[in-house]
Amino acid sequence: MLSCSQFDREFLRQVATAVGNEYRTGVMTEECHLDLNPFYNPTRRQYDGDRLLRHIPLCTASHYTKLVGLFRVDIYIPILTYIFGQAILGKSDAIASVFRLRNELYGMKQDEKLLLSRTVKEVIHELGHTFGLIHCQNHACVMRSSTYVEEIDLKSSSLCTGCREQIAHGKK
């Protein structure tokens, strides 16, 4: 997991632990001092998610099986007004941002626990895509698609049995 914006250590540790538990693997966290200015689009006042996704493998010298870049900034792709994150299906890289996951953005009370749980779900979700998973119809499954922030709260942070089996089969 690459921390591409300033994040609280404890926050990163908790995200990494939860993600590691879900995928039953160790999660390394690395700070990356990426200059985000080149990715800024002044017209949209957002950051280009496609280019960020292509760029993050260059941010680390180590080799990981899966790589997630975690951001604080508002990310877009040309066809959509915003994204929570994105991944390359069946490949290794993904990005996610906490920007639109924060309650404050919607005029609600700041809620660090909720933010943590949303971030965890979002990272696990995007990683699921890197394992080749597509969206799941199971209401509780973390791979259920959520385009609206509170839809994230409706699902759990775990993969359903079906999705879990798909990963197990894919790994063979």
């Binding site: 404050e104 005029g107 597509i134 119809q137 698609s145 609206y148 409706l154």
Partner: protein, 446 residues
């Protein structure tokens, strides 16, 4: 989803094609892309697509002309016109020519997903009509409703028949009987299944929070509201809204609810635009609403509007024969999710479970099994891994109250006397838990 819905994207911009392609693949659709009208028509010679997204401005043949050709080839296909600049004239023209919708780029992800789900639901609806006689009776999403008792069989029958209708439903049952599971099953087997099921736990929110939760608010409605926020009724558009603990709703909110149910329209807090939403309502309660109507604490008109169909879930103690099935189900569930080998259960342990009254119903049983797997020896669940087992050792004839007292004490100490979390774990409300604490004279040990 029975048959995959197929989508064709026609746009000359690479980035648009790539991201939409990616988006739809992740969403489980079958999708292809073409960079101009000519390529699209070539593809359409060989096959049919359910939904075709067409960019209006392309070199060569433009989107409106392509739409006319598509409609001539196959009038069943749903065409959605995309544009970078909204213009009223072209929109009108596109819709006149039979476009399903006209959307401006870039899309709000939430709108895009709604748009495609709406179109998809229309397609599956016509497919379902075709296959009307080939009716499949297998129910979806009922994996967690376990049992072979008469009561459960009747419950499943009720779910099946009520799922097909659009009526309001009230689910009654004690805490922990699985009211939300039943709501999910109804939704998952209804024609609304492609749309969200949105749950609201009314009991957990104050009146003003509940209002903003249900109806949403506009940017600037109060300090800090820098973004518009959709309410639950709006999120449930096309789908189902599940209102849990409906009996806790204040008199003022009861009036508001009644109005929304009657008109299917409302305003966001601080907004003046009327918003309409097409939702189905399912409510749940562990109280006797009829008595509340009698006492004047619950509006009669609202009660009749909600209570078109009533489904009652029996408490677990009334169907003890289902306990072994449930036990095995939860063992499988938790062993799988903890990536462990399946474990067995001691016959004496099973016997004790069958005898237990389970004031917290299925939820309590589930928690017991989960805990027993965590603390157990990894091979089988022993009597001493269960709360009643530990008591059975020192006093074989303990009253139910004693067991309840000890169980509550254990949970409280597990959650360091956080009453809210303990209440959630026990699946009772906080008031009930406070009453029990007082009744048994429980105190936090320092």
């Amino acid at each position: 989803m029975a048959e995959k819905i197929s989508i064709l994207i026609v746009d000359d911009e690479d980035s648009v094609r790539d991201s939409l392609l990616n988006w739809f693949i992740e969403d489980g659709y079958e999708v292809e892309a073409a960079e101009n009208a000519k390529k699209a028509l070539q593809l359409l010679e060989h096959r049919v697509f359910n939904i075709i997204l067409v960019d209006i401005k392309m070199p060569g043949m433009d989107g409106l002309e392509l739409q006319r050709r598509i409609k001539a080839l196959n009038s069943e296909s749903i065409v959605i016109i995309m544009t970078a600049f909204a213009s009223v004239e072209t929109a009108v023209q596109a819709l006149k020519d039979g476009a399903y919708d006209y959307v401006t780029k870039p899309f709000d992800p939430d709108d895009l997903s709604h748009l495609i789900r709406n179109a998809g639901a229309q397609i599956s609806l016509s497919k379902e009509n075709e296959a009307l006689k080939k009716r499949v009776t297998t129910l979806e999403d009922i994996d967690d409703i376990i049992g072979q008792s008469e009561a459960i069989r009747r419950l499943l029958e009720q779910i099946e028949s009520v799922a097909q209708s659009n009526s309001s439903v009230i689910i009654t049952g004690e805490s922990g009987t699985g009211k939300e599971l039943v709501a999910r099953a109804i939704h998952a087997n209804s024609p609304r299944r492609y749309f969200p099921l949105v749950s609201v736990h009314c009991g957990a929110l104050t009146e003003s929070l509940l209002e903003s939760e249900l109806f949403g608010h506009e940017k600037g409605a109060f300090t800090g509201a820098t973004f518009n926020r959709k309410g639950r009724f709006e999120m449930a558009d096309g789908g189902t809204i599940f209102l849990d603990e409906i009996a806790t709703v204040s008199p003022k909110m009861q009036i508001e609810l009644l109005r929304v149910l009657e008109t299917k329209s409302f305003h966001r807090v601080g907004g003046n635009k009327e918003i309409t939403s097409d939702f189905r309502v399912i409510c749940a309660t562990n109280r006797d609403l009829k008595t509340m109507v009698h006492n004047g604490t619950f509006r009669e008109d609202l009660y009749y509007r909600l209570n078109v169909v009533n489904i009652t879930i029996p408490p677990l103690r009334e169907r003890p024969d289902d306990i072994p099935l449930l036990v095995n189900h939860f063992i499988r569930k938790y062993c799988t999710s903890m990536s462990r080998d399946l474990i067995a259960i001691e016959p004496t342990a099973m016997k004790q479970l069958e005898k237990f009254e389970f004031p917290g119903n299925v939820r309590e049983l589930e928690n017991m099994i989960e805990r027993a797997i965590v603390i157990g020896n990894g091979r089988e669940i022993r009597l001493k891994d269960l709360p009643m087992g530990r008591e059975a050792v020192d006093s074989p004839v303990e009253s139910l109250e004693e067991i309840e007292k000890k169980h509550i004490e254990q949970i409280l100490s597990k959650y360091e006397w956080n009453v809210s979390r303990s209440a959630r774990a026990l699946n009772v409300d906080r008031v009930t838990l406070y009453n029990k604490i007082r009744k048994y004279g429980l105190k936090q040990k320092k």
